[in-house]
Amino acid sequence: MIRISMLQILLGREFMRLKKNPSALLLLGMLAAVALLMATSRPVDKPAKPVADNFWIIYDRETAWVQFLAKNRPEHPPIKVLKKDRLTNPNSNGRISLPPGDCGLEIKHKDVGEGVEVSLTGLYFGPSSDIMDPLMNWFWPKVVEFQDEKVKFDYLPQLMGGRRQKTAEETSLSDLVKAEVVGTVLLLIVQFFTCCHLLVSFTSQDRERGTLTALVLSPARMSEILVARFIFHLALSMSGSIAVVAILQPAALARPVLWLTLLLTSIGLMSVGTCIATMAKTQASAALLGLCYMLGGAVLFYLSTKFTAFGLLKRMSFESYSFLLIYQTLKAPIVVEQAMLLGMGWLVGIVLAWVYVARTTFYRFGWR
């Protein structure tokens, strides 16, 4: 049983300790300063985004849910629903050609066992698939409304003219050099610093100085010490993230998927931190291991853009999914289905695996 009064005392200790640790405060201040700098250095007059004249939903088979979509079309944006053979140019080898200024969504059905697999191809023009947002913001909730568990969706935006946009897994940092990328990187640094580096540093310092033993021998229980520590680092991480998002992209403050992603990333990084703090014998080795973890992740990200073999390893790191989800949610609001397509399921799974590993390691070796 966790005692709230004991948690308050232990949390007070952690905050007081942070207050008396100028280097940690300085780094947090620097991160906020970078975010502020980014926000103030953005161009004031952004070029106007292109807007689609019409949206098309093109299907290969008239199913119940296609009929449902046709029946529930909104007044705005204007959406036309047509069977594919009525739009295909006989000379285009099956490719759909839309009128200039229009965008569309191609729906293809494939029977798989008892269910149906639906592949969705977004057909857009211009510099970004963001132009599809008005259509997709209507489309995804409708999919949810007409939920059929036997249907599996696979969405891929494609630039009209034959060039396909890169998938989520293929997207690299250089493709995304925007303010949102800096925001994403800043948020990940805040997460890493507060949830992994500080946790490892404070814990190994406590162990080396014997203060952890002193705490354990006091009436505070080990579970209370652990919970207080996790709450402290989570609070720090969320406060830092709120500051960065508020400065860089205030509109994103009200996007639940962003906070869910940040929460999961924090938990994942605290689990990694717990493992490092448990395994490392000294504060110096713990700090080095933490740094190695961060640099190792960065190297893995880079190598995955060069060699496909590393792509698999990258997919096993929860940070790769965190990066994409944070980036997308900073850019525009996304619904849960989109989040799942961007790897939310993988993020949850990998974070849970880390929690299990951290728990096992802690009970096996402990912090004392």
Binding site: M6, I9, G12, R13, M16, R17, K20, N21, R209, G210, T211, T213, A214, L215, L217, S218, P219, A220, R221, R368
Partner: protein, 286 residues
């Protein structure tokens, strides 16, 4: 509660093939000031670690104020204090802040912090960060921290290490006062003078085994040699001679010195606890 403060029954602690504590049985009464002596590696710290629940024994049982350790460790925690041989303060906090944190953890009023600091003569340095404290001040702060909640049992590992003569006397008096008020004090030390001066009872441990346990007075009675030092004149020079009163020949020699009025001075030789300790643990001077 049991009649004893600490009960150790047939305690064995092994690290692989090495036996650190070997079938140790010991009982410490409430309010007793108990000294735990032994050469390096004798198993003193290992025993204390078992008593504070930091180490699981290989076999045997340990009861602290009636609580089984480690199974009832959580229940026993609020009633004992532990002064380790190394300081474990939060360096960034001041002396007062360190003590206030522990007052909060033990659920006692922060009002006890001031008197505790004053008792260890740390009031003037109360607001100074601990990282600026000398070794002696840190040690005293550690003791102040562990007496805040007036523990039933107080374990101390080398409590007067790094302390000057005045502070040593201060701490010894404090320990005597605590014991007089009913606190069971269990201390390990290498300082023989400390043992003789303040301990009610002493146990000597060597290679994990209990060698002997008794009061310092009984130790003196049992191990003191009836030796006197006699100084007498010989050829206008003063000569000093030690004489064992248990030997007939040397007793007669002393009688003769006194009878012939050549003896200038006769005095008994002081009992040396250090010698007894070395004898019992099988050690010799370097």
């Amino acid at each position: 509660m049991t009649s004893t403060g600490i009960e150790i029954n047939d305690l064995v602690v092994r690290f692989g093939r090495f036996t650190a504590v070997d079938h140790l049985t010991l009982a410490v009464k409430p309010g007793e000031l108990f000294g735990f002596l032994g050469p390096n590696g004798a198993g003193k710290t290992t025993t204390i670690k078992v008593l504070i629940g930091s180490l699981r024994p290989t076999s045997g049982s340990v009861k602290v104020a009636g609580f089984n350790i480690p199974s009832e460790f959580e229940k026993a925690k609020p009633i004992f204090g532990y002064v380790p041989d190394t300081e474990n303060h939060i360096e960034e906090f001041s002396g007062r802040e360190n003590l206030e944190l522990y007052a909060d953890l033990y659920g006692v009023s922060r009002a006890v912090v001031g008197p505790a600091l004053a008792r260890l003569e740390l009031s003037e340095a109360a607001e100074v960060a601990v990282r600026r404290y000398s070794k002696g001040m840190r040690r005293k702060l550690l003791i102040a921290r562990e007496i805040l909640h007036e523990p039933q049992i107080l374990y101390l590992d080398e409590p007067t290490a790094n302390l000057d003569i005045h502070s040593t006397a201060l701490v010894r008096q404090l320990l005597r006062d605590l014991a007089a008020r009913g606190t069971t004090v269990f201390l390990t030390t290498h300082d023989m003078e400390e043992v003789e001066q303040i301990c009610d009872r002493v146990a000597i441990l060597c290679k994990g085994k209990l060698v002997e346990s008794d009061t310092p007075t009984n130790f003196v009675t049992r191990h003191v040699k009836r030796i006197v030092a006699a100084q007498y004149e010989r050829n206008r020079e003063v000569v000093r001679e030690s004489l064992d009163l248990d030997l007939d020949e040397q007793r007669e020699r002393l009688a003769e010195l006194i009878r012939t009025e050549r003896c200038v001075r006769v005095h008994s030789q002081e009992f040396n606890f250090h010698d007894v300790f070395l004898k019992l643990t099988g050690q010799t001077y370097a």
